[in-house]
């Protein structure tokens, strides 16, 4: 790698990289993000290399492992350039056909294309697939074109041109003005205006300042920061370097959770390459500005995503938050002014510098500008990462992009904002997605988790789940959070187990109020949200659990029983064979009976029962009918085994 010594050399370097490439020559890009790797992308990538080698095409066709394009559920995703043909769920066995047909004959392999479930039509290119078509992918668009391990790919796509622009033609104050004018708000949770935070640090008199990337991504159910850091680490670094130049920092940190090993690997590699090219280190691009970055692996504690706790953890201590009498942009890491921003916030900075604040502010709404990446998961047809302009309606995300709820089930709620957020019911689907709008609806933007729930999801259990998570993750420093959440969890768990009592909801509300008022940090202050929002929108479910010992969603294990409907059972023995607990009695042409004592309520029998019979059902709130007497268990007619 060669070192670039002036901002002008960045563009020269880019031209050189491009001129060495022939845009008409094919390039095969295999997603090498964590999701696709889990589905076998590495084998696919190796198979392409081997096949091209075998066919003597190695020099004519480029193969790369790319960043995550977001459609993880249909992975491994393969895109063939220049035509941008998009193949989904590709297996190593499909590779010879793709090479022969698509590379060789320039034809499409129909069976690997996306099929629209509504129309049955096939989509050839990524941009034809509704999941992608209805997004605005300013941040994620590069992922699929970039080999996340190669800085040349990032530069070829225009990377580091924003840094060059800032260092050659803009003073730090001009950079600050641009970011402030863009109205960029933090993507990590609270939506604090980024420019204001930077300004505070910039104006602080201390000469030693830090800039930090928050890649702790503690929200269980969110993975956009992982995708950005894994797939396009240089975009985050470039933003960080520009931020450091703006506030006058010479040292930065990337705090990544250790559960993301690939992100750690890719960002470390990116830092090394950026150093070799002169984007990091001493005298960056010959400007006299010095800046270095270190990676810290978070050791697993949700609360460490909170700004003050993260800084304490960086200092090598237990990550406990501290009161914010003085904000961390004035006194943060080692008591120095420290700018902490989320991964996605940093990744937006190069776009703002390159395209201008006005361009950015035009996207989205007046108070929430730009795009936001959501991780759309749970009970939804198209799960994955979706980047949309702020202000889009929830309905357009869930139905337009997500393709609605699978299995013909009914939508119940969407949970946003992570453990501190809340559940939004169907009546509010026309809500515009923005920081203030979501807060008003009793939830919040958070970092962008969006978990869709259908009629089978129990809202009491969802509240219990989040409160349990937060009880575990409470650092224990302050009482309302440490003790209050523990009590809340105990009561909620009792309710889901059929031990709820009248008065429980009032106690829960009281405990919530105390936690909201008196906790030290936002973890405790917002912890009751999942309870409060589900109570507000789904009180009837709480009441059914408490009064009738019934779980309307048929989900709480202690309140349901599995039962074989004797009228529907055909004696095929499918359930009996699969039951892991040996709880089913039956035989060929004999009505099956589930022993309620032995049953562990894992639901395997229900999945095993052929859908044409649908004999296994769940019962809640009433007793299981008595078993069929032995003499009546024979099923007349032909055995329907197999």
């Amino acid at each position: 790698m060669r070192r670039l010594n002036s901002p002008g050399e960045v563009e020269k370097f880019r031209r050189e990289i491009l001129s060495a490439r022939n845009p008409a020559e094919p390039c095969i890009s295999v997603c090498a993000g964590t999701g696709c790797l889990a589905s076998g992308a590495m084998e696919v990538l190796e198979a392409f290399k081997a096949e091209l080698d075998r066919q003597g095409l190695k020099t004519r066709v480029d193969v790369k492992g790319s960043g995550c394009p977001g459609f993880c559920e249909r992975g491994p995703v393969v895109v063939v350039f220049p035509e941008e043909i998009c193949y989904l769920q590709v297996a190593a066995g499909d590779v010879p056909e793709i090479v022969a047909r698509t590379i060789g004959e320039k034809k499409v392999v129909e069976r690997l294309l996306y099929v629209d479930p509504a129309t049955g039509g096939r989509a050839v290119r990524e941009s034809d697939i509704p999941f992608y078509r209805n997004q605005t992918r300013n941040l994620l668009c590069s992922n699929v074109r970039i080999d996340s391990k190669k800085i040349e790919d990032y530069v070829a796509a225009g990377g580091y041109s924003a840094l060059a622009k800032a260092l050659s033609g803009m003073t730090p104050v001009q950079v600050l003005d641009e970011v402030r004018k863009s109205n960029l708000r933090g993507r990590g949770g609270a939506g604090f205006p980024t420019g204001e935070k930077w300004k505070g640090s910039r104006n602080a008199p201390d000469p030693v300042k830090y800039v930090i990337v928050n890649a702790d991504e503690g929200d269980p159910g969110a993975f956009m920061d992982r995708a950005l850091l894994e797939g396009n680490p240089h975009s985050v670094l470039e933003g960080l370097i520009i931020g450091a130049y703006c506030v006058g920092s010479r040292e930065g940190y990337v705090y990544v959770r250790q559960e993301y090993p690939l992100a750690v690997e890719n960002v470390n590699l990116a830092i090394r390459q950026a150093g070799e090219c002169g984007f990091l280190g001493k005298d960056i691009l010959g400007s006299g500005f010095d800046f270095e970055v270190k990676v810290h692996k978070g050791a697993g504690a949700f609360v460490c995503g909170e700004s003050t706790a993260l800084m304490t953890a960086l200092e090598g201590r237990p990550g406990e938050p501290r009161p914010k009498y003085v904000r961390s942009n004035i006194k943060g890491l080692w008591n120095r002014p420290s700018v902490l921003n989320n991964v996605e916030t940093w990744a937006n900075v190069p776009l703002i510098i390159n395209n201008g604040a006005d361009w950015f502010a035009k996207i989205g709404t007046r108070t929430s500008t730009g795009t936001k990446i959501f991780s759309l998961v749970g009970k939804i047809n198209n799960t994955g990462l979706v980047e949309v302009p702020m202000g889009i309606r929830l309905r357009d995300i869930i139905y337009g992009i997500g393709g609605g709820i699978p299995g013909g089930k009914k939508f119940k709620a969407v949970q946003t904002g992570g453990p501190s957020g809340g559940c939004i019911p169907g009546e509010l689907l026309d809500l515009e997605v923005g920081f203030d709008e979501l807060t008003k609806a009793g939830s919040m933007m958070g970092s962008g988790g969006m978990i869709v729930m259908d009629e089978d999801t129990c809202m009491v259990d969802v509240a219990r789940y989040f409160i349990e998570f937060l009880t575990d993750e409470s650092c224990g420093k302050c009482v309302p959070c440490r003790e209050g959440l523990r009590q809340m969890h105990r009561i909620l768990a009792d309710i889901t187990k059929g031990r709820g009592k009248e008065g429980d909801l009032e106690i829960l509300e009281e405990l919530s109020e105390t936690a909201v008022e008196a906790s030290l940090c936002a973890l405790g202050k917002s912890a009751p949200n999942p309870f409060l929002s589900t109570l507000r929108h789904f009180r009837n479910e709480y009441e059914a659990h408490i009064r009738e010992k019934r779980c309307p969603a048929l989900s709480c294990k202690d309140l349901i029983s599995y039962w074989v409907d004797p009228g529907k059972c055909r004696g095929c023995m499918s359930c009996l064979r699969k039951c892991p607990a040996g709880a089913i009695d039956g035989g060929k042409k004999k009505i099956h009976i589930i022993s309620q004592e032995k049953c562990t309520r894992c639901g395997t029998c229900m999945d095993a029962c052929p859908s044409k019979y649908g004999a296994v059902t769940k019962i809640s709130g009433r007793p299981v009918p008595p078993p069929v007497p032995e003499e009546n268990r024979a099923i007349a007619g032909k055995s329907s085994e197999e």
Partner: protein, 154 residues
């Protein structure tokens, strides 16, 4: 003696501020867990009391103080996995291995752990065995994966 297995780790961080957590991570990477012996060694080298080191280490979910099994089975219980039945997978694993989450089988073949989120939410529910991510799990599929590990050990 464990000391000579970790003294290079300590040497690499000498004199750097905020290095306790990276040191503990490196030591655990090498030994598989933080033994009492290694903590007392770090304590002497860094001049931090053992109780303080234990205080830091026990705060974070990553650190272990007992010897783990040969294979680590992690069941994700993040929100996306929870909504798609992650708890049933955990039940099945606990039943199969005969140990609760956090436990190690008596033959030290498997350690079972729960994890808050791997960020593979689109594939929920997810389990991770050693470093491999397995998506769209059912109790039956998860059991098959365990069986593969068992067979490999023959």
């Amino acid at each position: 003696m464990q000391e000579n297995r970790i003294d290079d780790v300590l040497a690499a961080f000498r004199g750097k501020q905020g290095s306790l957590i990276p040191i503990l991570q490196k030591v655990q990477e090498r030994l598989g867990f933080l033994s009492g012996e290694s903590i007392s060694f770090i304590s002497k080298a860094l001049r931090i009391s053992e109780s303080e080191i234990f205080g830091v280490a026990s705060f974070y979910a990553q650190f272990r103080f007992t010897k783990p099994g040969e294979h680590c089975v992690k069941v994700c219980l993040g929100t996306a996995c929870h909504v798609r039945g992650g708890a049933l997978i955990m039940d099945a694993m606990e039943r199969e291995l005969g140990v609760p989450a956090g436990g190690t089988t008596p033959d030290f073949k498997f350690t079972l752990e729960r994890v808050a989120c791997f960020g593979s939410c689109a594939l929920a529910p997810v389990i991770v065995t050693d470093k491999k991510v397995h998506g769209s799990m059912t109790p039956a599929k998860a059991k098959d994966i365990l069986d593969q590990y068992r067979r490999r050990q023959g």
